[in-house]
């Protein structure tokens, strides 16, 4: 029963949402809108479960004074502060919640990702080698695109941006199109397997 119920739910809702596309009757649209609503409501609980799991993990480390527990305390303090400020004073204009987001969270997050600029440059220097025909093709394309998409490329010659634009809209675009068609076929077969209960990995091992 523990596996039969989820598989049945999956089949019923999956089959209905698929069928609904071809049957735009008033009643079917009404049920369809309800299911869409339910999906959003249930999904938001997955975010809440994620947050609860994070709190549980960090609290455990702090309580058991595991190695680096001070950092877990910092994480819990940051989390608590956002939750208290958000629920107490709201999240809109001129709220402490938004101030914290603008001056702490957003700058840290943007900086974290900007670190990649340094690492990608270092990786390009160390690993970007013209070892084979394929690697040379990759390297040349990257170089033309990097030059062609900035003002400097246009300053060298109009051929640089023109070539970059051609690469993007013809061979690169076509390869990605091939990938999309492949992904599309894969999505359809996986979706059918899920609805029919053949693909059950989402149920876990037990």
């Amino acid at each position: 029963m523990q596996r039969a119920i989820p598989i049945t739910v999956c089949f019923v809702f999956g089959f209905f949402m698929l069928l609904q596309f071809f049957v735009p009757h008033k009643l079917s649209v009404l049920a369809y809108e309800n299911v869409l609503d339910w999906m959003q409501i249930i999904f938001v609980f997955t975010l809440l479960v994620g947050a609860a799991s994070y709190i549980r993990l960090n609290t455990k480390k702090v309580v058991q004074t595991q190695a680096g527990w001070g950092y877990n305390l910092v994480a819990l303090a940051g989390l608590s502060l956002m939750v208290i400020l958000g629920f107490w004073k709201g999240t809109g204009e001129n709220t402490p919640f938004l101030w914290m987001f603008n001056n702490l969270q957003a700058p840290m997050q943007a900086t974290m990702f900007s670190l990649l600029a340094f690492f990608v440059a270092s990786a390009a220097y160390r690993g970007f080698r013209a070892r084979s025909w394929e690697a040379t093709l990759l390297l040349l394309t990257a170089t033309v695109v990097m030059l062609g998409r900035v003002p400097l490329g246009n300053l060298i010659s109009h051929w640089v941006p023109d070539t970059a634009n051609w690469i993007l809209s013809v061979p690169s675009m076509a390869a990605k199109r091939g990938l999309y068609i492949g992904i599309g076929l894969g999505t359809i077969s996986t979706s059918l397997r899920i609805i029919l209960g053949i693909e059950r990995t989402y149920l876990g091992r037990r």
Binding site: V44, L104, A110, F113, R149, L192
Partner: protein, 198 residues
């Protein structure tokens, strides 16, 4: 200078300190960031979705039917109770099943038919022929039911060349993207914080 700018600059430098090596300042900022992000999501998810989509309809508008997704949502918390973890699978099954159901017709239309149609047109131009060859050979490369040997192997090899062009272009754009993020942080440090640039 505003206190907010000072704090933002300090935390920015804490994270940049990782470029030298992993250190307590970086670890402090890293944990603070993750904690705050989780707190942020909790508040936003509750205020903008749980309240208007679940609590208000049930308690203010008396729409009893919303109790069903509410209970299914609460089932998600059964993941913390090993004995009742199967309840959470019912909720996951609904989202995955319904998601798969809507994905099938959408994918057929958007990713297969429309893309194939766009590939078939314009055989009169060189670009049109290149696009057709690139799409066909890329698909051949991902067809593993036939061994990549002989004429089919050669076709698949041409597909890898087009894939390399795509990966090269994407790599070029990735560098562009990462540099743009660094420009943003530099503009903050040199402008808002140090006032070297206006």
């Amino acid at each position: 200078m505003q206190i907010g700018t000072l704090i933002a600059a300090f935390l920015t430098l804490c994270i940049f300190s990782f470029l030298y090596k992993d250190n307590p300042f970086y670890k402090f900022a890293e944990h603070l960031l993750v904690g705050m992000s989780v707190g942020y999501i909790l508040v936003i998810a509750f205020n903008t979705t749980v309240t208007p989509k679940l609590i208000n309809p049930i308690f203010q508008e008396g729409k009893i039917v919303y109790i069903i997704p509410g209970i299914l949502g609460l089932f998600m918390f059964a993941r913390f109770l090993p004995k009742y973890v199967w309840l959470s699978r019912i909720s996951i099954a609904l989202i995955i099943g319904a998601g798969a159901g809507v994905a099938i017709p959408a994918t057929i239309q958007a990713k297969i038919l429309a893309q194939m149609q766009a590939t078939m047109i314009d055989f009169a131009t060189v670009d049109g022929i290149i696009i057709f060859v690139a799409v066909a050979t890329t698909l051949a490369y991902f067809f593993f039911s036939k061994e990549h040997k002989g004429w089919f192997g050669a076709t698949a090899r041409v597909g890898t060349w087009f894939l390399m062009i795509f990966f090269g272009a994407t790599f070029g754009y990735t560098i562009m993207s990462r540099i743009s993020l660094l420009i943003g942080r530099m503009q903050f440090l040199l402008g808002d914080f140090l006032h070297v640039i206006k």
